[in-house]
Assembly symmetry: C2
């Protein structure tokens, strides 16, 4: 495995791979890899000639009062994990190389970025689209793999790729969960033992919603109430939002009659956790 | 020469060229080609294996009260001219293919876009950076040629390419002028004979500024006054702006002691014309 820090160096390698007709798979991450990331890496590994993983804690997607400074980092561990999963190139750029002092260009998505996490984190998706656009231009992958856990991010990136005509296929891989259902996340490490235990309420609530839909409930309000109640019942949880939205527009639905995303964000202690399920029309 | 309308078709061709290791030169235009465009095309032709010219009157770079609807168009003539200059591919996409109905992603440059034309045309550069990002992803050129006539556009695009890491070299080609000095522009066709004659005041003023600098004047104010006076002296001209700005930041300078851009925008009748000169430090 080759470790590359320089943006220009990575781009030169990418150009060579592209001109050599190699199928390049790409998994962008913020590092501190867990089994969720590894599932994306394994999926990509099976589909490409050359596998590039990036590790970059991107400052522009954190709000001023968010956890950029304390976001967990461990490049040595990430290196070992990437190597053991057959990664060809680990790209770990420096912030100063990604964002020179007079940096002034952003990619903004102005519809799908607004609801859900966009309301609580108003500059988040602008940071995400900007860094992903940069990484796509640097790595020039044939395809890139994102996790379904960040569902809105995946929708926003697919829209960006379509709108700006990036020549990159976007693949979205399923959520990987702990044994008790909690979605894997680097932020789970912020949780105290009690918070960790109570955080299972999120997926319990989502599972209950799916069950109620299977039993015939179609109205969004009672389904959302189930989520609220499940979080309220904990001592350490605070709901940020629970919404049921159309998968094409991310607008709230009143009655489920097509594919919907059921999305939850909740604070447990200092950790803002997100999770979601998609309910398909053919399950109705 | 191959005429391509489809965005997907163009991208498939581009991918093949790129993977074949071809050096692709690209000249993006809004069509209605004049000798200024042809000079860009000739410059590109001499530097590449495959030459792509695009013709697309981009709606997002026109303000609501601007001349999008009446902007001159003549694809048949453009085709003949491109063919005679050795163009390999003429890419002329449809607006609906470039901007699907729920289009929602833009590229915004937030520093160099603000002064000069950015003040009179607040959404202009956002449209330019967005369409150029799209065209770069569709055509995937090795290099692209822009005209110095649109000086601020060239600065903004270079900044975008640096910030978003586009793997494209930007080449800026000199202004081509009519015999009497007027910078060539598709918008010159809006001019009445009287306006056409008086519009030469713009380049006369810029030439006078260069002469005064050569004679020792370094203060921006008297130099700008010369431009104002030259435009005021006409019957049909109305100055939009005349500014002397630093070429790194596009901020106004009080005294010239480094490379500066002397930029003018003026209305003659219904035509908003722009022109500029660069005065280099080593000329001082």
């Amino acid at each position: 495995m080759r470790l590359v820090h320089g943006v220009k160096e990575m781009q030169t390698i990418s150009r060579g791979l592209r001109e050599g007709g190699r199928k390049v798979g790409f998994v962008p991450t913020m590092g501190y890899l867990h089994d969720g990331h590894l599932s994306l890496i394994r999926l990509a590994r099976g589909m490409c000639d050359t596998l590039v993983v990036s590790v970059f804690v991107n400052p522009t997607q954190f709000g001023p009062s968010e956890d950029f400074a304390r976001y967990p980092r461990d490049l040595e561990r990430d290196k070992r994990l990437c190597e053991s999963e057959g990664t060809d190139i680990l790209f770990a750029p420096e912030t100063s190389d990604m964002y020179p002092e007079d940096f002034s260009t952003y990619v903004v998505e102005e519809k799908l970025s607004l609801p859900l996490c966009g309301r609580s984190r108003p500059t988040h998706f602008r940071g995400v689209t900007t860094v992903v656009a940069k990484l796509f231009n640097i790595v020039q992958p044939t395809f890139a793999v994102f996790g379904q856990k960040d569902a809105q991010q995946a929708f926003v990136i697919k829209r960006m790729v379509r709108d700006l005509n990036f020549d990159v296929e976007i693949i979205v891989a399923p959520i990987v969960r702990e044994k008790d259902g909690l979605a894997m996340s680097s932020r789970n490490r912020y949780l105290s033992p009690k918070e960790r235990k109570e955080a299972t309420a999120i997926f319990r609530a989502l599972s209950r919603v799916r069950q109620m839909v299977q039993e015939g409930e179609r109205r969004a309000l009672p389904l959302i109430k189930v989520i609220r109640d499940e979080i309220v019942r904990t001592e350490t949880g605070q709901l940020d939002y629970a919404e049921i939205v159309d998968t094409k527009t991310l607008s709230p639905v009143e009655v489920i009659d097509d594919d919907v995303l059921v999305a939850v964000a909740a604070w447990f202690g200092d950790a803002r956790l997100i999770d979601n399920i998609i309910i398909r029309k053919d399950e109705l």
